[in-house]
Every structure is written in structure tokens, then in C-alpha cells.
Amino acid sequence: MADLETFRRETRAWLAANCPAEMREPVRDESDACWGGRNPVFKNSAQKQWLEAMAARGWTVPDWPKDYGGGGLSPEETKILRQEMARIGARNPLYSFGISMLGPALLKYGTETQKKHYLPQIARGEIRWCQGYSEPGAGSDLASLQTKCEDKGDHWLVNGQKVWTSYADKADWIFCLVRTDSQAPKHKGISFLLFDMASPGVSTKPILLISGYSPFCETFFDDVTVPKDQIVGELNKGWDVAKYLLGHEREMISGMGLGGHSGTLGEALADAVAGDPLLRADVARFDVDSLAFRAMSEKFIDELKAGKAHPAQPSMMKYAGTELNKARHELIMAAGGADALEWESERSRQGKSAREWLRTKANSIEGGTSEIQLGIVAKRILDLPGA
């Protein structure tokens, strides 16, 4: 206990000295966040300085082993670091699918060589990753994917198409599900492959969404050559890796339910709800749900770190968190009234409220729909019958 108190004191002092003032403001949108990568784009020098300071301590991934670029912190220490960062409103230094999705899968399924090679680069934010899961014919029924990966002796040859590939146009590498055995039952012929997006034959095309943003792409593979040692886990057993990774993806997406600020929605909308008792009531009920979900998130993370969480629990978190986030943005739109409808104006910051509201509608679709999550909870936690 005394050690943890010392750790808290030292962490607080270090953060005070090293977290630039500009990095203590909430992230305004996805483009305002630091994503790292081969050719990183920093909004300002503070963003670069903050990433480098945190990466040097391994604190972009505080609970990963030091050998792989992590901070080597215990679960208790990691929680204290998060609390101390939240206390001063410190931004996440790096937004990264490498950290939240691929990293945990590599830690569990990667070879020692793969871990030593990829993990430290992920920790330092040097590779921006994208995820090649969904295909035009394989969304909720993910295992029916068709992207073909043939063994050509000294390399793999990949052909096919992915869709809803988040930031594929900005990514350096992809972690991708490919079919390596077309004769086997659909779950048994899939492998988990890593490759460079700059490889000849890879092309991407952004998809314009209802929000006016294009965070997702169509991604095409046309005779892409991939070195043999870039499969993670066993050949044809990529589904295990994929499922493990999906748990982490759902955990990450469920974090959206927290809204990204520490106060309640009612505090943020106080002026708007003052003259509208029904809206105030809706917001108050939302805040009950929101604060309760915040407690649930804390409990879930604590249980996860202690190995006490049910393996299907991320599905419940993803479902609850994304439905909550959609409700939050419906209320923000209601409180904003006509102002929130402005799509292109200085005042509305180019339609921030409206675009974010529309963006959240994807939350309950991406990473497995709400219906998929409910089905998983029903069968794997409640043990209800039926495949």
C-alpha cells in the first residue's frame, strides 16, 4: 500500500512536469487525436512532446512488459496512472488500433520474434494499423469471409476485398483475416496475416458516410505478395486470434459509453435544459445510466485485470456502451435545437454536433452489431439454447 502511495505521488509529479497544457484539453474529434505512424502528422509540438515523453516510459502501454516497450506496471499501478491522468484531464498520448486490438493478440499468440519486432514499434506509435475483417459478403457472419491467401512456396499470395476498413487510407500496415483453406469448415480455414499497406497490389477507396466523414474504406488486394513469417498464431487457426482480438475491440468501443469527459451530460447542457423540464428529466435519467455505466466500466476493467471477468463480458459492455453513446448524442442534438442542425458554419464548427451524432449510429454496428452482442450474451453468459 505504501509503495502504491509513493507511486501515486511520483506519477502525479511526473505528469505535472511532463504533460503540456495543450494536452490537458479534451480531444475535439478523431482528427485532433494523435495516431502516430510511419509519417506521423502532429497538430502541434505539444502533441509530439507528450507522445515521446509517455513512450519513453513505456506509458503508452503501461501494463505491457518492459521487454516489449511497455511500462511493466502492475494492474494497481496502471489504475493509479489512469486516475492521475484523468485528474488533470490528460489526453491519451496515442490513439492506436495497435495498442487496443493487435497488441493484446500478439502478446498472446505472437512468436517471440514477432513480439520483439512489432510490439515496441506499436508502443512508440511508429506503425499505424488498420483491421481487415469485414468483407462485402461477410459482415455479421464474419467467418464466411472469402479473401484468398495461397501458399506459393516462399511467400503468400493474397487476393480479395475488405470493407469498412477504418482509416485504411492512412494506415501503414494491416492485420487481416484471410482464407488459407477453402475446403475446411468456414471457421477452420482462416488465418491471421500481417502485411504492409505499401505492398504492390494494395489499394484503398474511402467510403463517404452520412456524417460527411470517411473514416472507413474499401480495401482491395490484387496479387499481394506477403512474406511467410507474417502469420500470427497457427495456420488455419486465425479464428481464435480474431475472436480474442474482437474481445479487446469491443472493450475499446464500449469506452465510448463514457463520453470522454469526466462531468455529467446535465452539467454540460445546464443552460439548455433550464427552460425545458422534460428535456431536463431525460438528461437526468441519462446521467443515472451514464454514471452507473461508468461504475460498470471500472468494475469490468478491475475484474478483467484480476482474471475474474467472464470471457463474453466485453459483448455486454460493447452493447451497453454504444447504446448509451447513441442516446447521449440524441440528447445533445435535442438540447442544441436549430444550432445543432447547422452543417457548414463557423459557429457550429462545421456541424460538429450533427456529424458526431450521425457518426455514433455506427457504434452499434461496427465491431459486431448490438444484436450480435446480445446473442453472444444470451448464449454464452445466460446459457440459453440454440446455436
Binding site: 446535465g266 428529466a281 461504475a295 448464449k379 440459453l384
Partner: protein, 371 residues
């Protein structure tokens, strides 16, 4: 502190679970006392057993003969009470009353009886049909070397069986709490059986004279103690609701697996699977909120007050969903008195109102947050 039960707390839960399932079961307690029309609505024998198990003294300090534990532990017992719909004066006596008088002279007066499972305590707060402690109007005037109480209270749970009732009234100095004994002159107690077969008494105070030492704490200083008592009671009720809802969900899921229609178990139907999974999700969130409120109360945190309201509101709504889905998914059998699921619906309704309903607490949260 991690947001799950410690090993000691998990051990207490196992003990409480076994005890309540064996001694506090619906057939031997709730149905038994209801069917014979018991005027108390609970069994004094079981209350004695609560004392023997140490449950009655959970919040009482070790130096006073109790276990010196906290709201997390009280909640563990309440969750098992909720699971079995066990009628007992535990929530009013060992939680809300003990939290109010702790650290006052009334501790020495009442704790020995509570620890022995002989004393029952009640709280007289509500004056109207809805919980509005801010609007307490009952008066207490100085008279002789004490006070004279005039007014009326209702929804005094265990009020008909209580040896002592904590009464909130206004004096010239402000809100004041009085510990009024059952034989006080001028006190009229009318036991009222509620929908769930518990008793929620109406109390009429017609010039009831009490000594100055009936005052709990300071004259005019009742707000703090009432807040402490209500925080304990509200969090406790949330824990009982979580237990009640868990049992309703378990019972319903079991039924979905076993009941056959159209040649298969109805649990195979996606519509019922989705609704069950949604209910599970709401219930787990309510459980987390309740545990968070209990931990914050035990830490003496400033953040506890808001979380208490979150817990009571969220647990009430999750539990309401659990009993409504429970009865609906049981179909016709769920409408019969013979099946237990309906008893859960009735108890839920009572606990939802006790110490403030979900709307009251959402509104209270909004006020605490300044909007």
C-alpha cells in the same frame, strides 16, 4: 480499492447465501407469515437467527459488540434477502436506524437489543404518498424538559412492530430526529398491509411528549444524521433490489430453457434471447453502481451522495424490468399466486418506492450536479 468483492466479502456472501436460502426461503418465511396473516409480516425467530449469525451487528462497531463492517457487507446480506424475498427488519433496524444513531447516546441504549435480535427499529420520515424528506412538516415544540410531537407519518416500514421509531420533525432550531418508544402516550400506530404482504404503518402523533434525551444528536442537527440514515437505507434498498432482480432473472432464464412451445424450448427464440440479454446487461450495471455507492460510503467520500442516488435509481429501473419481463415471459403461470415470480413483482414495487423512487433520485442527481 478494486470494484469487486474481496475474499472476506465473498466468504460472507457465501455464508449469507446459504443461510438465507435455508432459513429465509419464500415458502417458510414470506408465504408462511402472509398466509397466517401475521401482524408483523415477519418472524421474530428469524430476526434472532440474524443476530446469532452476526448480521444484525454488521454496521455496529466492534467496541460496541458488532462486527464493525461497512455498507458493502450490509449490501451483501441485503442482496441475499432480496433474492429470497426474506421478510425481516434488517434494512430498517440494522442499516438505516443504526446508521442514524451511531455515535450518539442512543447507540448504547439500543445496540444491545439489536445485537441480540430482540429490538426492532423503524423510520418515520414520509408524510405523503411520495418520498419527499425535504418537505417534512411535522412539528416538535419544546414542552417541559422535552418536546411535544404533533403530526402524522406514513409508509413506516416495520412501524407496527418497532420498539423504537426514529421520527424526523421540525423544531424552531431546524430538523430534529427523535427516538420514540413504542408505548409513548398519544402515539397511535395503525399497521397497514402492503401489496407485498409487508406492513407499512401509519403513525399519528397527538401531543406525544418525549424527554429531551429522546433527541438523537443535537436539536436542529437532524439533517446530517437523516442524510446518513437515508444514504444507508437507499444504498441498502438498491442492494436488495439487485438481489431481487437477480433471482427474477435466474428464475426466468431457467423457465426459458425448460418451457417447450412449437416443439422447442422458448429460450431458442431470438426475441426472448435479446430481451433476456438486455435485462442481464441492465442488472450488471445496476450491481456495479450499487457496489460503487457502497464503497464510496465506506470511504467517506464526497462523491458518495450522488452515487447513492444513481444506485437507487438504476437498481429500481433494472429490477422493474426484471420483474416485468419475468412475469411476461412466464406467461399465464406467472399470473398465478402459486408461482413465486409474481411475489417478486410485488416486492419490487414496494422497494422501488421506499426511500425515493427512480424519478426522485434522477431529479436529486440533477440538483446535486447543479442543473
Amino acid at each position: 480499492m478494486p470494484l469487486y468483492l474481496t475474499d472476506d466479502q465473498a466468504m460472507l456472501r457465501d455464508t449469507a447465501r446459504d443461510f438465507m436460502a435455508e432459513q429465509g426461503a419464500i415458502r417458510s418465511q414470506l408465504r408462511h407469515w402472509r398466509d397466517i396473516g401475521c401482524k408483523d409480516g415477519f418472524g421474530h425467530g428469524l430476526w434472532k437467527q440474524f443476530a446469532e449469525m452476526g448480521f444484525a451487528g454488521i454496521l455496529i462497531g466492534e467496541e460496541e459488540g458488532g462486527l464493525g463492517l461497512g455498507h458493502v457487507e450490509a449490501g451483501i446480506v441485503l442482496e441475499e434477502i432480496g433474492r429470497n424475498l426474506t421478510p425481516s427488519p434488517f434494512l430498517t433496524t440494522a442499516v438505516a436506524f443504526v446508521a442514524a444513531v451511531k455515535g450518539t447516546a442512543h447507540g448504547a441504549r439500543w445496540f444491545p437489543g439489536i445485537l441480540a435480535g430482540e429490538t426492532v427499529a423503524a423510520l418515520a420520515i414520509d408524510e405523503g404518498a411520495r418520498h419527499r424528506p425535504e418537505a417534512i412538516a411535522m412539528r416538535a415544540e419544546r414542552a417541559g424538559n422535552g418536546f411535544r410531537l404533533d403530526g402524522a407519518k406514513q409508509f413506516v416500514v416495520q412501524g407496527a412492530s418497532a420498539d423504537v421509531t426514529l421520527v424526523a420533525a421540525r423544531t424552531d432550531e431546524g430538523l430534529t430526529l427523535f427516538a420514540v418508544e413504542k408505548d409513548a402516550k398519544g402515539l397511535e400506530v395503525e399497521g397497514v398491509r402492503l401489496a407485498d404482504a409487508s406492513i407499512g404503518a401509519r403513525l399519528t402523533f397527538d401531543g406525544v411528549e418525549v424527554d429531551a434525551d429522546a433527541v438523537v444528536g443535537e436539536v436542529g442537527g437532524g439533517d446530517t444524521m437523516l442524510a446518513r440514515s437515508l444514504a444507508a437505507g437507499r444504498t441498502g434498498a438498491a442492494a436488495e433490489l439487485v438481489g431481487l432482480a437477480s433471482a427474477a432473472l435466474d428464475m426466468t432464464v431457467d423457465y426459458l430453457k425448460q418451457r417447450q412451445q412449437f416443439g422447442k424450448p422458448i429460450g431458442e427464440f431470438q426475441a426472448l434471447q435479446f430481451r433476456s440479454a438486455h435485462l442481464y446487461s441492465e442488472l450488471e450495471i445496476a450491481r456495479a453502481a450499487t457496489l460503487k455507492a457502497q464503497q464510496l460510503l465506506d470511504e467517506g467520500s464526497d462523491a458518495a451522495e450522488a452515487m447513492v442516488s444513481v444506485a437507487k435509481a438504476k437498481a429500481s429501473r433494472a429490477s422493474q424490468l426484471a420483474v416485468q419481463e419475468g412475469v411476461q415471459m412466464h406467461g399465464g403461470i406467472g399470473m398465478t399466486d402459486e408461482h413465486d415470480i409474481g411475489l417478486y413483482m410485488k416486492r419490487d414495487r414496494v422497494l422501488a418506492e421506499l426511500f425515493g423512487d427512480a424519478n426522485y433520485h434522477a431529479d436529486r442527481l440533477a440538483r446535486l450536479k447543479g442543473y
